[in-house]
Symmetry: C2
Subunit: 452 residues, 2 copies
Amino acid sequence: MKKFTAFLFLSLSWGTSRAQDSLVIRKLSDEIMLRGKSYENLRVLCKTIGHRLSGSPQADRAVEWGVTALEAAGADRVWKQPVMVPHWVRGKENLQLKLGSEVIEVPVLSIGNTEGTQGKPLEAEVVLVNTIDDFNQLPKDKVKNKIVFFNYHFRHDIINTFEGYGDCGRYRWSAPNAAAAAGAAGVIIRSVSTGEDDFPHTGAMRYADSVKKIPAVAIGNKSADLLATRYQAGQTRAVITTDCTMEKDMPSYNVIGEIRGSQYPDEIILVGGHLDSWDVGEGAHDDGAGCVQSIEVLQAFKATGIRPKRTIRAVLFMNEENGLRGGMAYADSAKVRKENHILAIETDAGGFSPRGFGLNMSEARKKQLQRYRNLFLPYGVYDFEGGEGGADISPLSKEGVPTSGLRPDSQRYFDYHHTNADVFEAVNHRELKLGAVALAAMVYLVSEYGLK
Amino acid sequence: MKKFTAFLFLSLSWGTSRAQDSLVIRKLSDEIMLRGKSYENLRVLCKTIGHRLSGSPQADRAVEWGVTALEAAGADRVWKQPVMVPHWVRGKENLQLKLGSEVIEVPVLSIGNTEGTQGKPLEAEVVLVNTIDDFNQLPKDKVKNKIVFFNYHFRHDIINTFEGYGDCGRYRWSAPNAAAAAGAAGVIIRSVSTGEDDFPHTGAMRYADSVKKIPAVAIGNKSADLLATRYQAGQTRAVITTDCTMEKDMPSYNVIGEIRGSQYPDEIILVGGHLDSWDVGEGAHDDGAGCVQSIEVLQAFKATGIRPKRTIRAVLFMNEENGLRGGMAYADSAKVRKENHILAIETDAGGFSPRGFGLNMSEARKKQLQRYRNLFLPYGVYDFEGGEGGADISPLSKEGVPTSGLRPDSQRYFDYHHTNADVFEAVNHRELKLGAVALAAMVYLVSEYGLK
């Protein structure tokens, strides 16, 4: 009987607490959906600053915007954390395809971090390969001094596009190094893109220490189709003219705001995105959305008067795109200061309808968070099976901090990612806000119950 | 031991069958995602025909398009089912708001099925009410000969926008009748719209038999904000000038294609959307998407060589928007011909990422379909808890046919619904195709196992 009573008591208190939690989450949701600032914040970031690559004047302005927005959200404390960042400059760029007797200029973007042609035309014969395996089977003399065109398609049969990105992304990361090692003069890739359009997609690569830094550019799917269709071995030529170069490191900042926990202020729950973007479009989905959602979490707690038991910290990381310096500086600082991060959540997968959270932590902690699933279902958030955290918080993860990544619907992300199409208008206001609701709910539950 | 063996055998055969099913569904998915015709079919429908209200020449052309597309998909048989449909004609329309000394012309759409002002200006004082309850509390003399402005906002705190539509839609359906009954001269409504924009949304209403058919128009959210902000009781006036009218019924058709079942040809699984649209935009999400997805189900079975045990029928219904005549004619015919529909599925909630299926059927049948949940999870389809079927198949439901509605993500739908913004470009190709995958998977499972 005693056991039964204890069980009854537990289950009653559990039930009551869950009902109470569901009301608190509803309150946060109503605040965000009806009176939230995330959409307007995103508009200001995108339309008054625009894209903001690390080291650029726009990135400096974005830092000041971040401070102002976190203060307006009502953070107890807002500060800037210094970090030195790479400073890559794109300059002018041009690509001509010589197809038979025709010379066609197509939209092009240099791949991020690459060196250009110093503004001089680099003309060479094009060698088309469909995969890196095909490339590796070519004799080196077929490649030497040529421009290699990697014509690999983003796989549309893979349902989660982040898995497709994992598959296709190596053509941006690795393929230029493979071509350089074989003596190629330059590289063109079919963009890492799900788009049925002609937007080229930029993004980071890193030259291997052993190779010559050859120019590498990306073209959109339509131009890649054109080049692949009209390609004639031994005859097709291309002219790459680019200016891009890596300059000296520049000083910049992570921007941080927090609400101090009422009971366990030393237990920190981090929610963050990255403030920098590629130097095209407006960095709306990548990752303006994550920044304004992270700010919105603080805003919603403050506006509803819900006092978190644990400290909530919104972090706008600098330099996710081409160096991860902000994420590393943050983790270094946390280690030196012996800060206790009980959970770090990243939102860097676009401002689309949320579907779940990746959980990168011990099985016991996963199980705790998975038990909250029913509280998320009314908001369309059902999937707690993935294992991803996020790039900016990966240095924290290496230090043993449990990490989590918001998982929005992935279907449209790689239409916009790292392109001129990633603008404010591509973000839906309700989808953006609903992502903030999911984040606020998770932050609330962990602020209330900890993460054992 | 015997029991154990039987259990083992059952669980093995169940396991094997599920593994086999998952492979078949993957095959259908690969076909649809990689080689499917749905996106190109939608482009042709939207860009060469455009919107297609019942009774319009475009609706006639859409019927012929449907026949051709179903034949190209490889249907065993394609036919047209005659049906008489309403023929509402919009004509020219104009709305001026007189705000203080300013006269401002704003974008406007007459509500569908309404009578206009015969092209003559109808000018009157505006009476603003926020809700029907507020309206009902007004004395009749405050309303008589006035233009009532129903300023009700779509509720953004409701997460599923179809529930928000249920809440807000009565301002289009019922409010004009309430105003007419009180002697009003005309009605303006804030559109049934989630949009942060100024697109007016049309859509159906039906005059009550007892009331005068007064003009009723919709304005976008920005214009409604303007009118609400600048409104001054007793001073604000509006001028409605519209031409719209209901003309005589016209002949039209449902378009039907089927693949005959190999083992149980008399058991029919219906998958359908509606071919007609409102006379604005291109009817892309509503419901070109559902039409091309339904056609794609047949296409995918044919292209993969998967022979269904039961008959699969794709139905492109005519006149869902302003009469439901196609749905009624189809159900009447099915009854007369004693056809055995074991399941009817409608896709009429936009070409967005699928999240689930509404199940409108006996508990036992629901449980059967819910047991297939794990087969859908890899495609992001997890929610089998809703109860909705679809408008076109509601007459079949009344005859006892189990019905189901595809549930896509709902966040963006009411930004586009019944507006000039509902165009091909608003549909994402991967989201559209993924909806077709979900439909094909459900149709396959029921064609294989029936629905007991």
